[in-house]
């Protein structure tokens, strides 16, 4: 302990040194910053709210003064709420809810209107209308690998569907249903010029899933797939008749990463349950979570879609037509060099291609490493045909060590990875509840490549994360939002169903800094963030009488002065206009048993002059945006007097904007 005596020469001067270093190291005088530079009322606020210097900094960074705009839009999935939510970043203010697969009475979506009925009819699953969906992955349309701000896509995992939203009016234009599969998952991305929306299945089923095959024949007859949906940008529609599908083994396909730049033309899809376990726990089979986690590795599908497209065009690729879809069998895909696999660590999440397209980051949820596959090495290994073996379906498996560029030990429970503009990657860590930053091969700061740099705790159980522009070829960087699965104690308690928690993180500096928490409803699985100036949304429809769904003038538009009621037997067509602050006509007299067709045109040209049309006792509420024509038809099977009124506050005489629909027995 004698050394301690010598040591004991430390003096109070060392105490001084501590603060000297603390202050000077930061290059600025915190006192001046905190006390000298602020007015006394601000000091009082800071004291009263017990804010730390970091809190104050975060508050300043996220505050958007009244009347100012946010810098980014963030589109976050609403999960099983079936919608996409639109936030402004950095304020994290919620600005819009875009209902896609689920009803929304605010926007009159699915509450009687004919457009939603048509959309929902397109999206029937196994013949049945679904009025909800499970949105996992929103995706933005891209041009040359960059967000163009035109369209938003979202998948419905529960029913194997895709919704297309036009970002001029934030309305859904199309819902398509893949007739082959029950569930999808990997539809997170589009190919580099939005040529295709890529949809991968999730749970294995017979193809089509509407055909019964007992689970005992799982390996033999159940399959997965990836469907390439061509996107017609002019129409704003996915074209089902031109799709092609590659059959895949009945592993559970997880996420897909689109090739970019050098790897454009390829797609990389994760799988799990390579065990091909099937459930039957009552008969003593191990539960699925046990059975599907036995093996060490799962498979990464490596698919050359460009080649498939070319061979199809030349008629050199054999396919079967199943439920109207062109399906290329596994054997054919293998024979034509379209389908390969690499082993990947168990239960992967994320298959995230770097902005330059050279690497694919895969995270095994139970592996503390992220595994970085090299596209170049994959190409070489394919060329050399030096395979580790084949899986049960004859798909060649590339040697793990031949195609892995690096493995970075990032911590526990890595899930998803996005990239910034400076050569860094950010991985969400489910088990560690943190966002971990690591370097790619050429980090701008000159750090060692493939090295963990920082771990920032987040709360709790982060799932996906999003970096602004994080899946483009040139990410914007600057902000990162982590989409946390649990919120526990992060917000005021609101009963047993807790909100989810989004956390905004500043990634512009050398270290990440947590800025704010935003509790949200629904389960935002994934989000995309785009610069605000990339979007050019309409403030009103371009012409009066516009059909949002058809994207052109409606056949039922009604111009002022042309309002009328037309009777054709039991069909009564009401051509109505809405304008501040009256409906014309405002009286509709009907007889029980007639079918009424309301065609309502909002003839306002003013911004934000939306009118609602709420009809009592008929489960009908419409939202008619300025310029829009909305149709609704129903049979009046009950007699009575039913007021209708404008449900969107529109003027000082809003309360007076009403009418009667009477039904005589």
């Amino acid at each position: 302990m004698n050394k301690k005596i010598q040591f004991g020469l430390y003096t109070a001067a060392a105490g001084l040194a501590l603060f000297a270093v603390a202050l000077l190291g930061s290059g600025k005088n915190i006192f001046a910053q905190m006390s000298g530079g602020l007015g006394s009322s601000l000091e009082a606020i800071i004291k009263a709210r017990e804010l730390s210097p970091d809190d104050v900094e975060a508050a300043l960074k996220t505050f958007v003064p009244p009347g100012s705009y946010d810098e980014y839009y963030m589109f976050a999935s609403g999960g099983q709420a079936g919608n996409v939510e639109v936030f402004g970043v950095p304020s994290m203010r919620l600005m819009k809810n875009i209902p896609i697969f689920s009803e929304d009475s605010w926007q009159g979506y699915g509450i009687g209107d004919n457009e939603t009925k048509k959309l929902f009819a397109q999206g029937k699953a196994a013949g049945m209308t679904q009025t909800w969906g499970d949105v996992h992955h929103p995706a933005l349309s891209v041009t040359k690998g960059m967000y163009d701000g035109q369209f938003l896509f979202a998948n419905d995992k529960a029913n194997g569907r895709i919704g297309v939203v036009d970002l001029r009016d934030f309305h859904v234009k199309q819902i398509v249903k893949n007739p082959l599969i029950a569930t999808n998952h990997c539809g997170a991305k589009l190919t580099e010029n939005s040529e295709y929306y890529v949809e991968g299945s999730q749970f294995g089923t017979p193809l089509p899933y509407t055909k019964f095959v007992p689970l005992e024949r799982y390996k033999e007859e159940y399959r997965g797939l990836v469907t390439f949906w061509p996107f017609n940008r002019a129409e704003g529609k996915l074209e089902q008749s031109k799709t092609f599908t590659i059959e895949l083994p009945p592993y559970y396909q997880d996420l897909g990463g689109m090739g970019k730049q050098v790897s454009n033309g390829w797609v990389f899809i994760n799988t799990y349950n390579a065990e091909m376990a099937t459930p039957d726990d009552l008969k003593g089979k191990p539960p699925m979570e046990i059975a599907a986690s036995q093996r060490e590795m799962d498979y990464l599908h490596i698919i050359n879609w460009k080649r498939a497209e070319e061979l199809l065009a030349k008629g050199q690729l054999k396919y079967n037509r199943i439920s109207g879809m062109r399906v290329v069998p596994i054997a054919e895909a293998v024979a034509k060099g379209i389908l390969y696999q690499a082993a990947e660590p168990k239960s992967p999440h994320g298959s995230d291609v770097t902005p330059d397209g050279r690497f694919i980051t895969v995270s095994g949820k139970l592996d503390p490493h992220v595994t970085i596959f090299s596209f170049d090495k994959i190409q070489k290994a394919i060329a050399a045909k030096n395979f580790e073996g084949k899986d049960e379906f004859g798909i060649p498996v590339l040697r793990f060590k031949d195609v892995v560029e690096a493995q970075v030990e990032v911590g526990l429970g890595p899930l998803h990875t996005e990239y910034d503009d400076k050569g860094y990657a950010y991985t969400s860590m489910f088990l560690d509840s943190s966002i971990n930053k690591w370097s790619l091969d050429k980090p701008a700061g000159g750090e060692k490549p493939w090295t963990l740099l920082q771990s920032l705790p987040v709360h709790y159980n982060t799932g996906h994360l999003v970096v602004a522009g994080g899946d483009t070829i040139k990410p914007y960087g600057k902000y990162l939002v982590t989409l946390n699965k649990w919120s526990l104690d992060r917000a005021l308690p609101v009963g047993p169903l807790h909100p989810q928690n989004l956390q905004l993180i500043d990634i512009s500096g050398p270290t990440m800094k947590l800025l704010s928490d935003t509790p949200v409803v629904g389960e935002p699985h994934y989000a995309v963030m785009i610069k605000a100036d990339k979007l050019k949304p309409w403030k009103a429809y371009p012409e009066v009488g516009y059909s949002a769904l058809e994207r052109k003038a409606s056949a039922t538009l009604t111009l002022p002065g042309k309002e009328r009621v037309e009777r054709n037997g039991k069909d009564v067509h009401v051509f109505m206009t809405a304008q501040r602050s009256h409906f014309t006509p405002d009286r509709i007299d009907l007889n029980q048993g007639e079918r009424v067709h309301l065609h309502i045109t909002n003839i306002e040209r003013a911004e934000d002059a939306t009118h609602g049309f709420a009809l009592s006792s008929h489960n009908i509420n419409l939202s008619i945006d300025p310029g829009a024509t909305v149709d609704v038809d129903f049979t009046v099977d009950r007699s009575g007097v039913f007021p209708f009124y404008c449900s969107e506050f529109c003027s000082a005489l809003h309360m007076e904007m009403m009418g009667y629909l009477t039904v005589k027995k």
Binding site: M1, K4, F7, L9, Y10, T11, A12, A13, A14, G15, L16, A17, F19, A20, V21, A22, L24, G25, S26, N29, I30, F31, M34, S35, E50, S52, P53, D54, P286, E289, I290, S293, Q294, E296, M297, A343, P345, P368, H369, T371, E388, F400, V404, Q407, E409, V410, G411, L431, D432, S433, K448, L452, S455, P457, V458, H459, Y460, L488, D489, L514
Partner: protein, 950 residues
């Protein structure tokens, strides 16, 4: 070796004899060099002003190794003791062997032996330097990237001075090394004298070579060269239940066992996989493998290449050695397996591509016992309820042990070392985790023990040392009622003792010891920790940074232990602050609230019943190592000492500041004793100083002056009591220190201006900035506000230190040798300022200069080793100390000494030459006239002091 060449014609016998003598002399020097240090490294930094020293012998490093390791730990440098391990083990035998060789070869050895001796001896010092340079380079280039402090890889020159952060390094060779060099030169000489070859008909070297070759061959062929390679046949012929004793030999894998048999290898049957696939697959219940050597499996993760794959119940794998295998024992649907006393080592490939040395999936009630698992990836149990994992050692892997959905299990007496994480428990419940040791888990999350959504976990008597996080708790218990209990665990030297997510509730921590973790408990990411108990039945935990106090003999502190986020916030903003942790700088934490004036630190936890000493029976001594616990660090012994010692070391602070009251002594010490390592430095010091007096603390080096100062500043624990204006310096340290302004020997300032330094102190002490200008003026620093501190002269720096100390207008000014590094002019100026302060406050200054003492003191407190302290008046002191003692004066220019003698003689002083200065007979009162006389003669004085008896 018995034959020698006596008849070599070309060498004179005398020459030969001289060579032999030289050889033996060199041998002696080499042997002696073992007793002397070879090299020394010194590190100097502001907070270690005496420096830290590491002295290297050929076989050990001594000095401030623990301290250096402690520092290096924060920048992620490896422990000194872990470097050049092999070299240090072989050093003594190698040097002795070399010495023998030297002596013998020049005496009676062959030419070849002489070549070897000369070559070896010359090579030795070179190799020492090269090896040392290599390891230094290695250590400084291989920093742990996850260390709390990030430094770029740096290099320190192996000789001469260098610089790392604020540390200055000096390296130089020492006597041992010179001895070795001398020995090398002597053997070179000896070789030259006996340089003629011995005749070739000498057989000894060839005979030696032949014997060596034979030994080598025998050692490599330790098994019969070809054994029956019919493993599959043997098994096929065996009846169920048979016991097969495999003859020693080499066998080829793969082997599939599909009936209940026992296969014994007695450690000599080697089954080799030749880098392909799995070696042994067990498909029948009741198979027993014992004493096999299993080598070289395939390396395909896809095909899960293993040493042993078990797909049936009740298998036994015991006493086997598995090396170079991807997976070791892979249990799939293999309930009741027993894996015992095996030694498994994985493939030396990247961690991410390795397999698990033990992996169990859906296999209940397995037992892992007394295995040594090294260099694999994970040891992982999936869905293996009711299992027992005990007395294993798992090191250098990734997950030392990983539980997934594995309930009702016991983890006991295992050692986990150097894995990425130690034991990670996920989605499991009802586990007992007892008596395990977790060391040095420093992966990215680096949790020694992690709990993820796991319930009813009992964690006791575990030892957590040097991990990134001792215990990491996330979502556990999932259901609050299923409380987890942590008791009697020791957390020592971890970056974080316990790391908790704020939503965690329902854990109970009591009777644990938290010793010098960088952060004892960390709340990850803000928020507040609620719903966990930090004590049970009036028993809290021991916290080494507890700043309260207890009544004599009490076990529980009288104030609660509170951890707040002040340090954390500080360290988050300025990680360099960690450098100062465990130094008295941490004292400054009590001022952190003032450093961030608007920031009220949020509480992290409160322990109402903090223990004043670690509870008895905590794990701290090494456990009996299983098979391979050989490298248990000496650090642990140190730590166990620390556990006992720390209660006394602990700084204590509390309560609030007050103003001094009249008629209370400024300083009152009674029965103050302080000893270090059994050596008393202060014994029974009693003194009482009234307010307003100026007291000089007088004594020779080592008399205890600085120790006393540090005691009253609360930097040392001590026995007895010191009260400053009535406040106890230990139990009420903070308010006691509020009365004190302190000036150290040297001012530790950084790159700021005088004004910034003053503003800093003003903010720190809560003083209006308006006071800065008058205080600077008072200390003679007017007009210096804009000057950079590093540019100030030594005297100016001390004035600045004084100004800082005076800023809060403290009633007690304490100065520790403030003038020791000043030139006489500056010293005089400084003393002049101090004289101006006399009477306005109490001054306590240490000094060993009579001039200073006599100029300033009303009273002198004379400390002498082995004698009670005496309080003398100034007159008594002067009389006693300077009677007949001359003044020793050193001039700026030595050449002026004759002129100085003349000038002094003229002024009536008796003076004579002495060494490079002059002696002057001058009573204390006449010092100034003496200096003036010299000054008038144009002679400037560099230094002067009075020779004193002490």
């Amino acid at each position: 070796m018995t034959s020698f060449a006596s008849g070599s014609p070309a060498v004179e016998p005398s020459q030969r004899r001289f060579a032999a003598t030289l050889g033996w002399a060199a041998a002696g020097l080499l042997a002696v060099s073992l007793f002397f240090p070879y090299w020394q490294a010194r590190l100097m930094a502001p907070q270690y002003r005496q420096g830290l020293t590491a002295t290297m012998y050929s076989y050990k490093v001594v000095g401030d190794v623990d301290e250096i390791d402690g520092l290096n730990h924060y920048i992620g440098m490896r422990k000194l003791g872990s470097l050049a391990r092999l070299e240090r083990i072989v050093a003594i035998p190698a040097v002795l062997l070399l010495a023998l060789l030297c002596g013998f070869s020049f005496w009676r050895g062959t030419y070849a032996l002489r070549v070897a001796a000369a070559g070896g001896t010359i090579f030795f010092p070179i190799a020492f330097v090269v090896d040392m340079a290599f390891w230094m380079r290695y250590a400084t280039k291989h920093l742990d990237p996850m260390a709390p402090l990030k430094l770029k890889p740096f290099s320190i020159p192996v000789i001469g001075s260098g610089r790392v952060a604020q540390f200055h390094s000096e390296l130089m060779p020492l006597l041992g090394f010179y001895l070795a060099v001398l020995a090398a030169l002597m053997t070179l000489g000896a070789f030259w004298l006996s340089r003629v070859k011995t005749p070739r008909n000498d057989l000894s070297s060839r005979r030696t070579a032949a014997v060596a070759l034979a030994i080598a061959i025998m050692s490599t062929v330790s098994y019969p060269a070809s054994a029956a390679n019919s493993l599959t046949d043997l098994v096929a012929r065996a009846a169920p239940g048979a016991v097969i004793d495999l003859p020693a030999g080499r066998y080829d894998a793969p082997l599939i066992i599909d009936k209940p048999i026992t296969l014994r290898g007695n450690g000599l049957a080697v089954i080799n996989g030749h880098g392909q696939g799995t070696l042994i697959k067990i498909k029948s219940p009741g198979v027993d493998l014992e004493g096999l050597v299993l080598e070289n499996s395939g390396d395909s993760l896809l095909f899960e290449d293993s040493a042993v794959r078990v797909e049936a119940a009740s298998a036994v794998v015991r006493g086997c050695r598995m090396s170079d295998v991807l997976f070791g024992v892979f249990l799939v649907n293999a309930p009741g397996a027993l894996v015992e006393s095996n030694h498994m080592s994985g493939k030396t490939i990247d961690m991410g591509r390795r397999g698990d040395l033990v992996r169990s999936w859906n296999s209940d009630r397995i037992t892992l016992r007394k295995n040594l698992l090294e260099g694999g990836r994970d040891t992982v149990l999936w869905f293996s309820t009711g299992s027992i994992v005990e007395s294993n050692t798992v090191r250098d892997g990734r997950y030392g042990l990983h539980f997934m959905y594995t309930n009702n299990a016991v983890v006991r007496e295992n050692i986990f070392q150097g894995n990425s994480v130690g034991l990670y428990v996920m989605y499991s419940k009802e586990l007992r985790i007892e008596d395990n040791r977790f060391e040095n888990h420093r992966g990215p999350s680096g949790a020694a023990l992690g709990l993820k959504e796991s319930d009813s976990i009992w964690v006791s008597h575990n030892f957590f040392l040097g991990n990134r996080q001792g215990i990491y708790i996330d979502g556990s218990p999932l259901i609050e009622e299923n409380s987890n209990t942590f008791t009697k665990n020791s957390f020592v030297y971890n970056d974080i003792g316990i790391s908790v997510l704020p939503g965690v509730k329902g854990n109970s921590f009591f009777s644990n010891a938290f010793v010098d973790n960088l952060q004892q408990v960390s709340l990850r990411g803000g928020g507040q920790l609620r719903g966990n108990a930090w004590s049970r039945a009036g028993q809290g935990n021991f916290w080494s940074d507890y700043a309260g106090y207890g009544a004599a003999g009490a076990a529980i502190g009288s104030l609660p232990y509170r951890q707040d986020s002040a340090w954390e916030s500080l360290m988050d903003r300025q990680p360099l602050a960690r450098f100062f942790l465990f130094t008295p700088a941490a004292q400054a934490v009590e001022l952190a609230g003032r450093a961030f004036p608007l920031f009220r630190p949020k509480p992290v936890l409160t322990d109402e019943f903090p223990l004043l000493a670690p509870p008895a029976g905590l794990p701290s001594a090494p456990m009996a190592p299983i098979q391979a616990g050989m490298e248990f660090p000496i650090g642990l012994l140190f730590v166990s000492g620390l556990l006992l010692w720390i209660p006394r070391l602990r700084p204590r602070r509390a309560a609030t500041a007050l103003t001094p009251q009249a008629n209370i002594p400024a300083l009152e010490a009674s029965n103050v004793s302080k000893s270090f390592a059994g050596q008393a430095v202060l014994s029974d010091l009693d003194v009482r100083i009234e307010p307003g007096r100026s007291v000089v603390l007088w004594g020779a080096n080592g008399a205890g002056k600085s120790t006393f100062i540090r005691c009253l500043l609360g930097l040392h624990g001590y026995e007895g009591s010191i009260r400053i204006f009535g406040r106890d310096a230990q139990s009420d340290g903070e308010s006691a220190r509020a009365f004190v302004g302190y000036v150290a020997q040297e001012f530790a300032g950084y790159h700021w201006t005088v004004r910034e330094a003053m503003e800093f102190m003003a903010d720190l002490r809560g003083v209006a900035r308006e006071r800065i200008a008058p205080t600077l003026a008072r200390c003679g620093l007017s007009g210096c506000e804009g000057k950079a501190v590093p540019q100030l002269s030594g005297g100016m720096k001390q004035k600045l230190a004084l100004a800082q100390a005076l800023l809060a207008d403290p009633p007690l000014l304490v100065l520790d040798e403030p003038c020791s590094s000043l030139d006489p002019k500056s010293r005089a100026e400084f003393l002049h300022i101090l004289q101006g302060l006399k009477g306005s406050r109490t001054i306590l200054m240490t000094s060993h200069r009579v001039e200073e003492a006599s100029a300033l003191a009303d009273l002198v407190l004379w400390l002498e080793a082995g004698r009670p302290a005496r309080l003398l008046s100034r007159e008594e002191f002067v009389r006693e100390v300077s009677a007949g003692r001359p003044l020793w004066v050193e001039l700026q220019e030595r050449g002026l000494r004759p002129r100085a003698l003349e000038a002094l003689a003229k002024a009536g002083f008796s003076a004579k030459l002495n060494g490079h200065g002059i002696w002057v007979e001058a009573e204390p009162g006449r010092v100034s006239p003496m200096l003036e006389a010299l000054s008038a003669a144009g002679i400037s004085v560099r230094d002067l002091r009075r020779e004193i008896a002490s």
